[in-house]
Symmetry: C2
Subunit: 425 residues, 2 copies
């Protein structure tokens, strides 16, 4: 049923019903969290065999992985991640446990020292293009450094490239763009081949323009036939723009979220530039942990097998969302629409304009934590107040199903109230 076509009376009746449901929910004193893209305990359990990979009798490769050194990471894991990302081994740095740290540090280095010999970004105005909705931690880094963020809408094919091309061509202070190119956070959209090609080939006013290619979900398919993402590094190499790209990935959602291994991939120029600063910061990352990962992950084929196990745990939750929301808001309810990702960690939900904050408030009031409404936009400002990020993974299947019932009710209460309010105007 289309709520936007209902009469005032019908709306009021629907609202009364939902308010009763909400009252009942409140009595149950639930405490549920679907706010962050955290793996569930079951997902983490998949990785437990990794902890048997080394022991007191392990003989480590030389030069001794237990000792200092090896800033760029152990060769086996560099090679494996290079294959996973479609780059060369020498185009990688294997780091610590967080790709976020590699990204933050890359921006901090650019601010302080510039990139590949350019002027430090600190010395001028810096702007970043931010596809929206997007990842709150990307936006938070920009805000922290005083980088001005420019919203560009996401489409099912990636960011609106007409807009992106115009922005980078016109303005030298536009130094970067954040991209989660596969199963984007939160839409789950994968950039089309055309989008990837246009990003690699577009003319940029800034010579030191950089694409921050956060390929966080590169192997995170929920179905055997996953989305295919074009290899931006291969395209950029051919176009002579390889230095434009910093690619990031990690095993945070392959092994342990808090104890994975992160990787940065970039042109040899960028890698050399990065290491030329990084060598003052550390003598090397945790190579024992890198080796543990290598022994566990082994090959891209084995990574695919591991991710199939992960998918088996996540997929039912994504499908549950689709089932519930189709039933509740399916054929044109006029108050909710959502994406249907085939991988990644998030679903992007848009409710009736002007209602998302109220949905968040209602959820909170009955014990359901959702991603901070607005967080999917720079500065936390969603002009339309409509976007809500759904993170299905952390809760158990049962909890998630319960959370969805709560969410559905809160959406209905918020949106129907809004429609009633409108009808009174």
């Amino acid at each position: 049923m289309d709520y936007t076509q209902m009469s005032r009376e019908e709306l009021q009746q629907a609202l009364d019903e939902q308010n009763k449901v909400l009252k009942e929910i409140k009595k149950r004193k639930i405490s549920l969290d679907i706010s962050r893209g955290k793996p569930s305990a079951e997902q983490l359990d998949v990785t437990m065999p990794m902890l048997d990979m080394v022991g007191s009798t392990t003989i480590f490769p030389k030069p001794d992985y237990r000792n200092y050194g090896g800033l760029e990471g152990i060769p086996e894991l560099r090679a494996l991640f290079a294959k996973m990302l479609g780059v060369e081994k020498d185009e990688t740095i294997v780091g610590g446990n967080a790709s976020l740290q590699l990204m933050y540090d890359t921006i901090q280095r650019a601010m302080q020292f510039g990139v590949c010999g350019s002027k430090p970004w600190n010395e001028g105005k810096v702007k970043f293009i931010c596809p929206v909705p997007g990842y709150d931690r990307h936006f938070a880094i920009c805000q922290h450094f005083g980088i001005e963020m420019i919203n560009v809408p996401m489409t099912p094919a990636g960011p609106n490239m007409d807009l992106v091309e115009r922005l980078v061509a016109d303005d030298e202070s536009v130094k970067g763009i954040w991209c989660v190119p596969k199963y984007q956070n939160p839409t789950g959209y994968t950039f089309s081949d055309e989008t990837v090609e246009r990003l690699a080939k577009m003319k940029t006013a800034a010579k030191d323009f950089r694409i921050f290619w956060d390929n966080a979900y590169c192997v995170h398919d929920l179905y055997e036939q996953g989305d295919k993402l074009a290899n931006i590094m291969a395209i950029a190499k051919e176009a002579g723009t390889a230095d434009r790209i910093y690619e990031f990935a990690s095993t945070s959602k392959i092994t342990f979220a808090g104890a994975g291994v992160a990787v940065m991939a970039a042109s040899k120029n960028n890698i050399a530039d990065t290491l030329s600063h990084m060598k003052f910061q550390t003598i090397g990352f945790n190579k024992v942990w890198q080796y543990v990962h290598y022994l566990y992950l082994q090959s891209t084929e084995n990574i695919a097998a591991i991710m199939a196990k992960q998918a088996a745990l996540i997929r039912p939750k994504f499908e549950k969302f689709e089932e519930v929301f189709s039933e509740e808001f399916g054929s044109g309810s006029g108050i909710a629409r959502w994406t249907k990702p085939r991988g990644g960690y998030f679903i992007s939900l848009d409710v009736l304009d002007g209602c998302a904050k109220e949905v968040g408030r209602l959820c909170k009031s009955v014990g359901l934590t959702i991603t901070g409404v607005g967080d999917t936009f720079p500065y936390g400002i969603d002009d339309r107040d409509s976007n809500i990020r759904i993170a299905p993974t952390y809760a158990s299947e049962e909890e998630f199903a319960e959370a969805l019932q709560v969410l559905v009710c809160c959406i209905k209460v918020a949106c129907i109230s809004k429609l009633i309010g409108k009808s009174e105007e």
Copy 2:
């Protein structure tokens, strides 16, 4: 024998002898390295039981250490390190594998954002006091950020405090001092109680002045009766200057050099200030590895027991150095003097002024790598060209003994040649 008192002929004869020895050494085509403070393979072997601490059946504490979160580190290890350093648990952040990274990042944050609300250091001239000889990686960080370094000589009681006090009192651009307060790198000197107190209590022109207290060798005694270092945090708290101190330590030389765990200790103000920036950089460090460390280290008593095992492997090398050098240059040779540390990783050797570089060149020519001559001074400039850092740990006892024979010969050749040159002036 005192070479400085020899006649030209005696010197020539001694030089001819040593040149013969050097020729023989060259024939042996050795390849030895006493340049870096790296643990030996035997030392690393001590830690192997740590790798049995967790396995596929381990049950991790809640909130699940395998998952995201816990920016400040796991509580057990915070408490243990706090006890080790004589601070409170809430005055620590347990990080990744490198204290160098905590130090670098602390300076980078100060440059970009200031400290505790002060102006970003990038906005003005910044100078650091550098006790010399000192740790090359500290100096390298300063140089990388364009921080001007001011040499202050080390004494057996620590940096010359009259000089330090004058410098910090007079000049607001003096923002910091590097200190390795216990078994200093490379002298092995431990700051006296008076030095620690004066550092904690001195008047500084800069309100955002910071002591970088790199307590790298806090539990690294070679003898049961180790040097005692006063607790600067306790003194500073009483003096109302607690915010002045950033303390750093790590298990790089307790567990694995390349895969330890680092810790930062500071006042609650400083910890809050640090976390307020760090939260944009990472969601948390590797808590699984932190837990592995906690299970292995357990208590300060057990750390002491582990360090006794480490000492048993290192001590013979330090004693070998003392034995050989006493014999060769003992009672006033006039061309070499050295420190006799009771802990830490280094010995500081001073040869006849103007000879250190030549000693380094000769060593290299016969296959012995020593720490880059000059590296123990800011900008790599040792005005007197006399200091050489000795790192006894990495080589085996046999190799180290051989290295010492080579070093002795090279010192004699370089210094006697110099004395002959002088006698000709």
